[in-house]
């Protein structure tokens, strides 16, 4: 792995023939640090305007990265709702100047406390048409433990207002919280359903190192929920939402018909994407690149006209592993016919052997040329997927 300046690459190297592309914009600021979060962000907003300037500059510097039209833009974070509407407009305008933008899905991650009537009204003037709202829980004591900056009431209000303002709304929920009972989770599910949003992400709480949660576990102040209960909650969400008309289309994602997240889906079907902002990852052809994960150095480098970018060229096996890893996380599954041409015969033979073995065990199922992990085993997906990994 080496740090490379992208401009060193011939243009053709980074061009490809996909029909569309996505842009991810990382907004590295939060009011507070959530107990479980290990994403890159800063809780000091003093650099925000310098950051926006740097971001605009980065868009110019990377204008050659994508060839195909940009159809999805995703403001993630951090907390993108710290951006004012005019800042969002400046960013999307800059994108339109440097890329061919045909907007289909423009998502902004938002915290409920930021989604006031006024703010929502101002957002109407931007390209944003979809809001991903971090609800996490409908219980105030849980929100407090998570160190969130909003109450359950604010969440309900924010969702209602966002829908009224005409946005597509997605909400985030977290299960497998310490000592969470099935009753508590069932209540969460019912409250989520009552909101009738078009998209729901239900994440299993994950213990990430260097988070407050990890510290509390280490100090034995809280305990991770046991695996059996966690798995039962995962399956309960599946049963519940499926019955309510949602499709469980990826391990952590549910959508009403036609409302699957286009941008996030592009990560799983190998559509190229450009990641802007500190720590953001980009992917095109067989290259993965990522920006430095530090706000100050990001701003510094960009203002000097240098891209603080590290790149990794994916080998055939890396690409195959990523393809099967992302595809097997979805309900759609993996079309193995497409792999036959990519794999050397020996590798393909080995791969087919593994499929037969895992099929016999019941960890995967097969419909014609498509293999997929049945829902009931999704909670062990990593283990199953690793069986297929190509190592040599």
């Amino acid at each position: 792995m080496q740090i490379l300046n992208l401009t060193l690459y011939p243009l053709s190297y980074l061009c490809h023939s996909f029909q569309m592309a996505g842009v991810y914009i990382h907004i590295p600021f939060c009011h507070k640090a959530c107990t479980y979060c290990d994403f890159h962000f800063s809780t000091s907003l003093k650099n925000k305007s310098a950051f926006v300037e740097a971001l605009l500059r980065e868009i110019e510097l990377r204008k050659n990265f994508l060839d195909e039209p940009v159809t999805t833009i995703y403001f993630g974070g951090g907390t993108p709702s710290v951006l004012k509407a005019d800042e969002i407009n400046r960013i999307t305008e800059k994108l339109a100047e440097n890329f061919k933008v045909i907007p289909q899905e423009i998502t902004l991650e938002a915290n409920p406390e930021d989604l006031t009537q006024d703010y929502l009204h101002s957002l109407r003037s931007t390209m944003v048409n979809r809001l991903s709202i971090g609800i996490q829980s409908f219980r105030n004591e849980r929100l407090q433990w998570m160190n969130r900056n909003h109450t359950a009431e604010q969440s309900l209000q924010a969702v209602q207002c966002a829908k009224d303002a005409g946005f597509d709304v997605s909400i985030d929920l977290i299960f497998a919280l310490p000592a969470m009972t099935m009753d508590e989770w069932q209540q969460q599910l019912m409250q989520a359903d009552a909101l009738r949003v078009s998209h729901i992400s239900a994440y299993s709480l994950t213990l990430e190192s260097k988070t407050a949660y990890a510290f509390q576990v280490k100090k034995k102040q809280v305990q991770e929920l046991n695996e059996n209960d966690a798995e039962r909650q995962f399956l309960a969400a599946h049963d519940f939402f499926t019955e309510k008309g949602y499709t469980h289309y990826e391990i952590s994602n549910y959508a009403l018909p036609g409302k699957q997240a286009k941008h996030n889906s592009s990560y799983w079907n190998r559509t190229p994407y450009l990641g802007l902002g500190p720590s953001a990852h980009s992917f095109a052809m067989n290259m993965r690149c990522w920006n430095v994960a530090n706000n100050n150095s990001y701003i510094q480098y960009i203002s000097d006209g240098v891209l603080p970018l590290s790149c990794e060229e994916l080998q055939l096996k890396d690409e195959l592993n990523e393809t099967l890893m992302t595809a097997l996380r979805t309900a759609e599954g993996l079309n193995i016919e497409t792999l036959e041409n990519k794999m050397p015969p020996e590798m393909y033979r080995h791969f087919m052997k593994e499929i037969a073995l895992q099929e016999k065990r019941g960890w995967i199922e097969r419909k014609n040329a498509v293999i997929f992990i049945p829902f009931k085993h999704w909670y062990k997906a990593d283990r199953i997927i690793s069986e297929f990994f190509i190592t040599t």
Binding site: Y203, S204, E227, I251, D318, M325, D382, S386, E387, T391
Partner: protein, 595 residues
């Protein structure tokens, strides 16, 4: 002949044999300081790493004393009990021995047993107190031990330091003065003792010999008596740091012979070389075919590598004739080999050489000794594998090999060591105070108990202050049972072990616990059972994995997660699929690591 001195060095591991040998080479200008590489004589990587001598070697030094030129042949001997036959042949080629004792550690069991071997062959012993410069040295105390042991005079004991070179000149002088020159009739037909051989990928097998009688000439037709093969002596020579070809090698001298032999099996240590034209009347006494003491299965981790494993083992055998193997198959592991080793160290060395020199990843199964089975119908056969264990209804009795063990330790550890030996079915046969603080204990115990985990336990109960040596003393009837391990009801033959009935229950329980620890959780529950026949005596459960998932997998998570899963998969390469269960490599040797 009267100016030749043949000698070896007897020492316990770490008592500084190799360092002192290097000094002798340096002081006789056999090699210059620049050529000096620590432990010159041990030229296998593995030997240098482990700091032990696996294969013995010989080297010739020129030495002038009082205007007279002498030829000193140093014959290096391996220091581990697994190779005691090779030691005995090296000793048989010498007239004298340096007995090196660490001035801080004193006499150890290994030293004593090799010393007895040397005394049996009437060798002149020169006791040397080494590492005299160590702050912890206790020269007077250790001298007492030596005097007690040898019955020599106190002033006959030399003091030296391999590290500083102190005493080395004196040792060289005493080698000339005290050690007798070899005897033998130079006019008699050729009789030479092979005491070692090495494999060279260009030249084939190079045999090291000492001429007992007569002389050997280059180009002569020679015969190896025990194998009854004839060869042409393509090259003979003496051993300096490099091989030095010669026309003839006379009585009493040490040299090498190259005949183009490619297979180590044809050159047996202890064999006699004579000429085809004028053969000697009888071979040199003491030749033995070395028999393996310990048996274990070696299997490729990936069944497809069987043929590659076979060719690797064949190549290994070319330079290690004491390795024996034959194909076997296991229901659990597929095709592999049942291998015979000289001992546990030899087994570890073979496994390591397969991995290092041939890049093979192998599974070694639980080692066992060779048992004798007697059936009610009068048949008798040897058991090298638990699966050969006879049907109890047809079995008359089983005999297992016993050893005489010798342990030297500090007085304070006697109690703990006795308890250990008794737990290992040992019987105390003698106890002997070497000094007020040092005790020699003698036991008789089954060899099988040594094979398991005796060394490690001895080390831990004695805090490292115990040395140990043993000799086989024959077979005794024993109440043995075959303990099987089942995973999800399926017996895994590669995990079976033969053990004494009295130990079977605790053993079964421990092995199940150990396997539970080693077998990683899988997508289903795994039941581990130990059974004797149809009777289950222990049971453990490895719970199924319920959660192994990345909640979020967007953008940057993808490459991070891919790398994690790749690592996970890499780890599985060393696992073996048995039925539906994946078993890590080390589980097959789990019985050796029980507490």
């Amino acid at each position: 002949m009267e100016n030749i001195r043949n000698f070896c060095i007897i020492a316990h591991i770490d008592h500084g044999k190799s360092t002192l040998a290097d000094r002798l080479l340096e002081y006789t200008n056999t090699l210059t300081k620049q050529q000096m590489q620590a432990q010159v004589l041990d030229d296998m990587d593995l030997e240098r790493e482990r700091g032990i001598t696996i294969k013995s070697h010989a080297i010739q030094m020129d030495y002038t004393l009082d205007g007279k030129k002498y030829v000193l042949n140093l014959i290096d001997t391996p220091g581990h009990v697994d190779f005691s036959y090779e030691v005995s042949r090296s000793i048989a080629a010498c007239e004298g021995a340096l007995l090196i004792v660490d001035a801080a550690q004193g006499i150890q069991a290994q030293t004593i047993s090799n010393l007895y071997l040397a005394l049996e062959h009437d060798l002149t012993i020169i006791p040397v107190l080494n590492k005299i410069d160590l702050p912890s040295a206790e020269p007077e105390l250790v001298k007492d031990q030596i005097v007690d042991l040898l019955g020599c005079k106190r002033e006959e004991i030399m003091a030296a330091s391999g590290k500083t070179g102190m005493g080395v000149h004196e040792i060289l002088q005493e080698i000339v003065h005290r050690i007798p020159s070899p005897k033998g009739n130079p006019k008699a037909p050729l009789k030479a003792l092979i005491f070692d051989s090495v494999f060279n990928s260009f030249r084939g097998i190079i045999a090291y010999f000492k001429v007992i009688e007569g002389e050997i000439k280059s180009g002569e037709n020679v015969k190896f008596v025990a194998t009854d093969n004839e060869y042409i002596a393509e090259e003979i020579g003496i051993l300096k740091l490099e091989k030095l070809p010669q026309k003839t090698i006379g009585t009493g001298n040490v040299g090498y012979i190259i005949t183009g032999i490619k297979n180590a099996k044809e050159v047996k240590v202890g064999d006699t070389i004579t000429t085809v034209e004028n053969p000697c009347d009888e071979a040199i006494a003491g030749f033995e075919d070395v028999k393996p003491m310990v048996f274990a299965g070696i299997y490729p981790v990936d069944t497809e590598d069987y043929e590659e494993l076979r060719s690797s083992m064949e190549k290994l055998q070319l330079n290690d004739a004491s390795l024996v193997f034959e194909p076997e198959s296991s229901a659990a592991l597929g095709f592999g080999f049942r291998c015979g080793f000289l001992g546990m160290l030899h087994m570890e060395i073979i496994q390591e050489r397969l991995e290092r020199e041939f890049n093979m990843t192998v599974i070694t199964t639980v080692p066992n000794v060779s048992y004798k089975a007697f059936l009610t119908n009068g048949d008798q056969y040897e058991i090298h594998n638990p699966s050969d264990f006879p049907d109890p209804s047809k079995m008359d009795r089983i005999e297992e090999p016993y050893i005489k063990a010798q342990i030297i330790t500090k007085a304070e550890f006697i109690g703990a060591i006795m308890t250990l030996c008794i737990n290992k079915r040992g019987v105390i046969t003698g106890q002997n105070y070497l000094t007020t603080d040092r005790v020699e204990l003698m036991f008789e115990m089954p060899l099988a108990e040594i094979v398991f985990d005796f060394y490690d336990k001895l080390k831990s109960v004695s805090k490292g202050y115990a040395s140990f040596d043993y000799h086989p003393i024959g077979y005794k009837t024993s109440d043995l049972v075959k303990l099987d391990i089942r995973l999800n009801g399926e017996p895994v033959d590669a995990l079976s072990a033969l053990i004494h009935r009295d130990h079977s229950y605790t053993f079964g329980k421990k092995i199940c616990e150990k396997l539970k620890e080693l077998i990683t959780r899988q997508q289903f529950e795994i039941i581990i059972q130990a059974s004797i026949g149809a009777k289950i005596i222990a049971r453990e459960t490895v719970k199924a994995i319920r959660k192994d998932v990345t909640a979020k997998c967007y953008g940057g998570d993808i490459s991070r997660k891919r790398k994690l899963l790749e690592k996970q998969k890499e780890g599985k390469k060393r696992m073996r699929q048995v039925g539906s269960v994946e078993i890590p490599q080390q589980a097959f040797l789990a019985v050796l690591k029980l507490d």
